[in-house]
């Protein structure tokens, strides 16, 4: 399908595409780093070692470190359940997982505030035990888990669907337990997709803004993640500082893009092999 463009109108389209990409994607990216370094490398270093910045980095990392494994586990469970068995409501379950994807993050934050906040049934119970959910770390983690839960499942479900379960069945017949079948047969097949899902989840967990800002309380030094710091410093007219924090996040985003591209290629490779095997199985 790929052809070298021969006609002028094809080159025109390509130029238009480049222009769109330059304006919408490249320039915003370039501006971040330009602004961050506009007062020199020393300023950047100063900003990066600022206690608020360090606190924000630490908080962001903690949130991500909890969110990613939780969603990894859940994603695998859901994908396994939905692709390996036939049951009523299978499609429904699979659609429900997409809800966070379509929702406004602020609404998500609000929902959590309402249900798990101090004045609710659950919140009350937790405060009784001295644990504060909302406007503290637990709430921020919970909300981030909500917002990022579809990613792993969405990557795994189509892949595991197309790979079929013949190999796992063969393992069971040979005496493996369910756990062994998963660990020794399924896991190796899905590991690239899994990594890809982890990369996506991580990127989103680190960058989540709207939902976290609702439940964090924006307490300086305590409940500010990096994205929230960007907003706070911008409002303080600490523009260079805000852009430095933004630059840090943008750098992470670029690394994410790189990893994504590499893993996408590896996953495609897997899916192609799987579909080939499946077709061979289906023809007598």
């Amino acid at each position: 399908m790929h052809e070298h463009p021969r006609h002028w109108h094809q080159w025109l389209l390509i130029m238009a595409a480049f222009a769109a990409v330059a304006i919408l994607l490249v320039m915003p990216l370039a501006l971040i780093f330009t602004e961050a370094f506009s007062q020199g490398w020393a300023m950047v270093q100063q900003n990066l070692t600022n206690p608020d910045m360090l606190g924000a980095i630490k908080l962001t990392l903690i949130v991500a470190l909890i969110t990613v494994p939780v969603n990894l586990l859940f994603g695998i469970l859901l994908a396994w359940c939905v692709t390996r068995y036939e049951f009523r409501g299978r499609k429904l379950l699979s659609t429900l997982i997409d809800i966070p994807f379509a929702m406004s993050p602020v609404v998500a934050g609000l929902c959590y505030l309402v249900v798990y906040g101090a004045q609710s049934v659950v919140g009350n119970w937790f405060s009784g035990m001295g644990v504060q959910l909302m406007f503290a770390l637990p709430g921020m983690v919970m909300v981030t888990v909500f917002v990022t839960c579809p990613y792993v499942a969405r990557v795994l479900i189509p892949l595991m669907e197309s790979q079929g379960q013949h190999e796992e069945e063969a393992a069971i017949i040979l005496g493996a337990s369910g756990w062994q079948a998963f660990w020794y047969v399924t896991l190796p097949k899905i590991r690239w997709a899994l990594l890809y899902g982890v990369v996506l989840t991580n990127a989103r967990a680190v960058g989540e803004f709207g939902a976290v800002s609702v439940v964090s309380g924006l307490i300086r030094g305590q409940t500010l993640t990096l994205p929230l710091l960007v907003q706070m410093w911008n409002q303080d007219y600490n523009t260079v500082g805000a852009f430095t924090a933004a630059g840090l996040l943008a750098a992470m985003a670029l690394v994410t893009l790189l990893l994504k591209t590499v893993l996408e290629w590896a996953t495609q490779h897997n899916t192609d092999n799987a579909t080939e095997q499946k077709t061979e199985q289906d023809t007598p």
Binding site: M1, E3, H4, P5, I14, F18, A20, V21, I23, L24, L25, P28, L29, L31, I32, E35, W80, C81, R84, Y85, F87, R88, L93, I97, I99, A102, M103, S104, P105, V107, L110, C111, L113, V115, Y116, C149, E168, E169, I172, I173, S177, W179, A203, G207, E208, F209, G210, S213, L226, P227, L228, V230, Q231, F243, A246, L249, A250, A253, L257, L258
Partner: protein, 278 residues
Amino acid sequence: MPLLRTQHSVLPGFTLSFALSVLFICLVILVPLSGLAIHVSQMSWAQYWGVITDPRSLASFRVTLLAAAGASGINAVVGLLLAWVITRYRFPGRRLMDALVDLPFALPTAVAGLTLSALFAANGWLGQWFEAIGISVAYTPLGIMIAMSFTSLPFVVRAVQPVLEDLTPDVEEAAATLGATPMATFTRVILAQLMPALLTGTALAFTRSLGEYGAVIFIAGNMPFETEILSLLVNIRLDEFDYAAASALASVILIASLVLLFGIQLVQSRLTRRWKGH
């Protein structure tokens, strides 16, 4: 669970994986959503209606809807262009372009908001060109539209790309043997087959734009009645501890998103069945 399972499977672990998945979905997704629903239902209808029809609320609906619609329109065109060029032609920089398309997905919305507002500010790299011809971008609905367009561009591109890649050249040749001009082949054969994916991608972009917060609030100016989006109004009501109003407004976004989400799924599965046969 004989009532639930429709087919016997050799693989063990159904009960465990099913129970845990359902538990997770309930705790993480369903309980919070229904919590909001319950909270809203505790309001009287008059109270609810009052919040919804408050002039400031209505203004925020208008601003959000129009900007999201405009952004989705831009995305449909630009997204189709990008998908077309990336899939059909070979040129230096193609792979880079393909990877960059995902930037809005990877970049935190606050970062996007910050840089877009600086880019399109009156003295910004691009903003100055717009100012020169008398158009203000920052602090206007146009700025909101651009921010929304940025964050949901990948939806359209990634929805259209696989369908474009699936198109075989022999179908276009068939159209040619039947006398179709290149334009007719594009509209009647190619675009017609792309339309569902294009619509799905645009609908997803629209849904995302409706709820977009971080990218918008930096560039919007957030003036009530003019450039205040719905998500921001919800947050403002929350800061005022007016949980009732916030919930009422949030419920509007929620219902709209859910309806759109399920609608898209339905259309997608129906067309897949019809065109792919399974």
